[in-house]
């Protein structure tokens, strides 16, 4: 039976719950004695707090308590830390301003929380929050990252607002490559700032049991163990064993729910301080202001090429906006998740990248679907396409000439990573075929006859996923090891409970992980239950981000399942009065090799718990096994995306005619789920390319603070995606999986923008390519030939 579930599009076990309204999200939880919190936030991007006056709020109906930044300071709570240390070129440590749970004397971004009002109802809490009088004295805000290092200093300990000045690669070799080049292509670009927009806003419910001195925090988290670790070890609201964190059903995260925020922390602290059970659910306006934003890079790059199009060197200078404080993983995003990916799929022998990260009076910026890798891919794939146009080469051919060949793995890039496996030519070939690339010029001519502009754009992306391994991550500055835990717990009747440190918030782990374990043990998938998201039930885990769940968490379960089989063989040998070596597991049956006697998995499970005659020195009762899996390397999903657009020159509207995504995710457990992940990623990547942008005005007011002004993609912005797969299994994990969660958002933006650039005859515009921007670009083009 083994092998019968891998690669099958099993319907998602969790969907019945979700589509029938039986999901249990944080805001759904009702407890006796529930009270509600509302936060008081700064209406200024930067201001001194002169005083708090909470008397009117305290006197308002239903109000139980008002806590301000002053109480946070009095209780000596630690700040919210950033978990990844980056060193500057000169060896100095990155500069990290104190990030208070609630601000007491200075606010540094619009929407920063300064006080918390707790009342009997949500409405009373919100109304009373309006009565908290905070005397703000506004200060000049620093908003533009490109000029932040020359602006007024925001923090005494952070000269020039520079968090760090980081570098990677060989500068001398890169300069030599540029000097020797027959052609140098230069490119300046902005990677537009994005707001995550998970469908479920952040929420928290904190309860305190004075009898046991335990806090239980239910919250919208992608990694509940990290929440517990940071709130206890760093902020110190309670000892670690007195805080239980539960992340129940969570409606989307895209990175924004990895981080440890002020609101959830303040709620857990307040619950214990006041002995209350308190709930808070962000409204959409709060999500816009305070969920960590994504991207926000300004870059310049030079690509050196030989006369026949061989890449000689790539030099990149990037300014990355960190926002007002360093969010949990912020420092790693524009460095080790960005600079290390600048080799792309190519043999470029010399690469040098400098990244200046700056503080501004804007919301903190951190990982958002792809996290650094979309920024790297956007830069590499835009400049490669531009070089092809400048040199008069077919962009597919230029890429092919520079690909790392399938026989060149493992391949050490000049920017730290060693790719284990891949076949870039295969995915390019398949994508070109699916897109009818060879006949594009006929379609372009036909469009031109109708007065329309057509363009086709390629993107050959690579990403580093399966965020781990601990040794590498640690050497690069990660504050925690990046392995994952898993347990396969066989119940006496032979059903299986699978516990994982990964967390599902839309990815379908309850199905994929059940498929993996059921397949290994030869059980029906209905007999396998996946448990996740509760520090009270699970070993320490590291959660879900960076497309790591199957590659790392799934591998842990694979190893744990192997251990269950080994233990089962011992039990079978005991029951059958033979040697372990004489037992073979032919899932789901343990068989004697030299006879036809056997025991079923269910018989072994039952015997494991109820037998009376174990040789106790050699064999423990029970059948439950754990594994902590720490991979040897990242995984490297890669592929080719092709976008074909048609522009109406009269309106500037861009229509995506077709979008082809061919991805190599290694071994695939559930193709339907993978395709869904690709579709979601493409929607977000195309949204970035065409529609989405977070804009602050020059005083730091967020003027795209609602769906009236922040444009989310809708179904009618997309064609029916053409999705294809190639497969080179990951060489170093037992599943062979590479990760698929982010690829769509990484590969698609450059494909869209390359297509638009081609349609506009080479005129470059920055994302998002709104109809206004495109129309203005069209006005500068030579007159169109119209039919």
């Amino acid at each position: 039976m083994s092998g019968s579930l891998i690669g099958k599009s099993v319907l998602r076990k969790e969907d019945h719950r979700f589509v029938s309204g039986k999901g249990r999200y944080t805001d759904d939880i009702q407890l006796v004695g529930l009270t509600y919190a509302a936060f008081v936030r700064s209406p200024y991007a930067r201001a001194d707090i002169k005083s708090f006056d909470v008397s009117d709020a305290l006197a308002a109906p239903g109000v139980i308590a008002v806590l301000t930044g002053e109480e946070v300071a009095k209780d000596g709570l630690g700040g919210l830390p950033c978990g990844w240390m980056i060193h500057s070129k000169d060896g100095s440590e990155m500069r990290q301003p104190h990030h208070p749970v609630l601000a007491a004397d200075r606010v540094n971004y619009l929407g920063e929380p300064v006080a918390l009002v707790i009342a009997d109802t949500q409405l009373e809490a919100k109304n009373a929050a309006e009565l908290v009088m905070v005397d703000f004295e506004p200060l000049t805000a620093v908003v533009n990252p490109a000029t932040a290092s020359q602006a007024e200093t925001l923090y005494e300990a952070v000269p020039n607002n520079l968090c760090y000045e980081w570098e990677l690669g060989d500068e001398a070799a890169t300069e030599a490559g540029l000097a020797a080049a027959a052609h140098v292509t230069t490119l300046k670009l902005t990677n537009n700032r994005l707001i995550p927009n998970a469908i479920e806003p952040r929420a928290a419910l904190a309860e305190y049991n004075s009898g046991t001195d335990e806090i239980i925090l239910h919250t919208t988290s992608q990694n509940p163990h990290l929440v517990r670790l940071i709130m206890t070890a760093f902020v110190q609201i309670a000892p670690e064993h007195k805080l239980r964190v539960i992340a129940p059903d969570v409606g989307g995260g895209f990175g924004s729910k990895i981080f440890i925020y002020s609101e959830e922390t303040a709620l857990a602290w307040a619950a214990k301080k006041l002995g209350l059970t308190i709930k808070w659910t962000a409204d959409r306006s709060e999500s816009f202001l305070t969920d960590a934003h994504g991207r926000d890079h300004v870059s310049e790059a030079q690509l050196a090429l030989s006369a026949d199009g061989e890449f000689l060197a790539l030099k990149v200078k990037t300014v990355a906006n960190m926002g007002a404080y360093l969010s949990t993983f912020a420092s790693a995003v524009p460095t080790y998740l960005y600079g290390t990916l600048l080799a792309g799929q190519y043999r470029t022998p010399a690469i040098y990248v400098e990244v200046d990260s700056v503080f501004t009076n804007t919301a903190p910026v951190d990982a958002y679907r792809g996290a650094g890798r979309p920024e790297a891919t956007y830069l590499v794939e835009r400049i490669v396409e531009k070089a092809a146009a400048e040199m008069g080469l077919d962009p597919a051919e230029l890429r092919r000439r520079n690909f790392i060949g399938r026989d060149q793995f493992p391949y050490q890039t000049p920017v730290a990573l060693e790719y284990d496996t891949g076949d870039y030519e295969a995915s390019l070939h398949k994508a070109l075929k699916m897109a009818d690339y060879n006949t594009f010029s006929a379609r372009q001519a036909e469009a031109e006859a109708r007065g329309k502009l057509r363009g086709i754009g390629l993107s050959c992306y690579i990403e580093a996923c399966g965020l781990a391994p601990s040794q590498v991550a640690g050497a690069l500055g990660a504050g925690v090891g990046l392995w994952e835990s898993g347990e396969v717990r066989v119940n006496p009747t032979g059903s299986v409970t699978v516990l994982t440190g990964s967390h599902s918030h839309g990815q379908g782990h309850e199905t994929t992980f059940a498929q993996l374990v059921a397949d290994r043990l030869g059980l029906p998938i209905e007999d396998v239950e996946v448990v996740h998201g509760d520090t009270g039930k699970l070993d320490f885990g590291l959660g879900t981000y960076g497309s790591r769940s199957l590659a790392v968490g799934g591998s842990a379960l694979s190893v744990a399942a192997d251990k269950v089989v080994e233990k089962g063989r011992k039990i079978a040998a005991h029951l059958l009065r033979t040697d372990v070596d004489n037992i073979d597991f032919d899932a789901p049956v343990f068989k004697m090799i030299d006879s036809n006697e056997s025991k079923t998995f269910q018989e072994i499970a039952f015997a494991a718990y109820v037998n009376h005659d174990y040789p106790s020195e050699e064999l423990e009762p029970g059948l439950a096994e754990k594994a902590f899996y720490d991979p040897l390397n990242f995984t490297y999903p890669a592929g080719t995306h092709i976008c074909e657009v048609e522009i109406d020159p009269d309106t500037g509207v861009v229509e995506i005619i077709q979008f082809v995504a061919v991805d190599d995710f290694g071994t695939i457990i559930n193709p339907m789920i993978v395709e869904g992940q690709v579709h979601g990623g493409l929607a977000q990547g195309i949204g970035q390319a065409l529609l989405e942008q977070a804009v602050y005005d020059d005083t730091g007011q967020l003027i795209t603070g609602s769906y009236m002004d922040y444009c989310m993609p809708r179904a009618d912005n997309f064609p029916d995606f053409k999705v294809g797969m190639t497969c080179t299994p990951c060489t170093h994990n037992p599943v062979g999986a590479k990760g698929c969660g982010e690829a769509g958002a990484i590969g698609s933006p450059p494909a869209v923008m390359n297509a638009i650039t081609q349609a506009l005859g080479g005129i470059e515009i920055d994302m998002p390519a709104t109809s206004e921007k495109v129309w203005r670009a069209v006005q500068t083009m030579p007159a169109l030939k119209t039919a």
Partner: protein, 164 residues
């Protein structure tokens, strides 16, 4: 946000100037004004409720009249706080010019407004502010002119000089 507009009032400059400095006149012309109190020479405290897009808020603020050049011009500056709705601050330059209309003495009133908003108003109503400001100006001057001329049937025409 910037707004430059002008209108003609069928009254002499001196009468218009006097009305523009009459707290009661201002209070009754200002849409949503709940409270208006003189706190010093040319300084007033006020409470105004306003709706900008989806945000409705009551602003507590103060305004001051400066650079008075009777009867031809003055400047208004002010700041209002609307709690969680955010804040608004800004100023207006108002100038009067004697003209004739149908042979009668009249006044051409022109003004330019600059305003900045913050907090929720900017977040969700940012692009509606221009429209909201125009409407507020239209309502204010309509009431103002009707009271001044004691004629409730006047339909005021306001001309926009420049749209940024």
């Amino acid at each position: 946000m910037e707004l430059k507009q002008q209108l003609v009032i069928p009254r002499a400059v001196e009468a218009v100037w006097q009305a523009l400095n009459d707290p009661e006149m201002l209070q009754h012309s200002l849409p949503g004004c709940q409270h208006f109190e003189q706190t010093g020479d040319n300084a007033y405290d006020m409470t105004v409720s306003a709706k900008i897009g989806p945000v409705k808020a009551t602003f507590n603020g103060a305004i001051a009249l400066q650079n008075l050049n009777p009867p031809f011009s003055y400047e208004i500056s002010g700041e209002g706080k609307g709690g969680v709705a955010g804040f608004a601050k800004g100023g207006a330059k108002v100038s009067l010019k004697a003209v004739t209309e149908s042979g009668e003495p009249a006044t051409q009133l022109s003004y330019s407004v600059e305003a900045a908003v913050g907090g929720k108003i900017a977040q969700v109503g940012g692009r509606l502010i221009q429209g909201a400001a125009r409407k507020m100006a239209q309502d204010f001057f309509t009431q103002f002119v009707r009271r001044l001329c004691d004629d409730e049937t006047i339909e005021l025409v306001i001309e926009t000089i420049e749209t940024p």
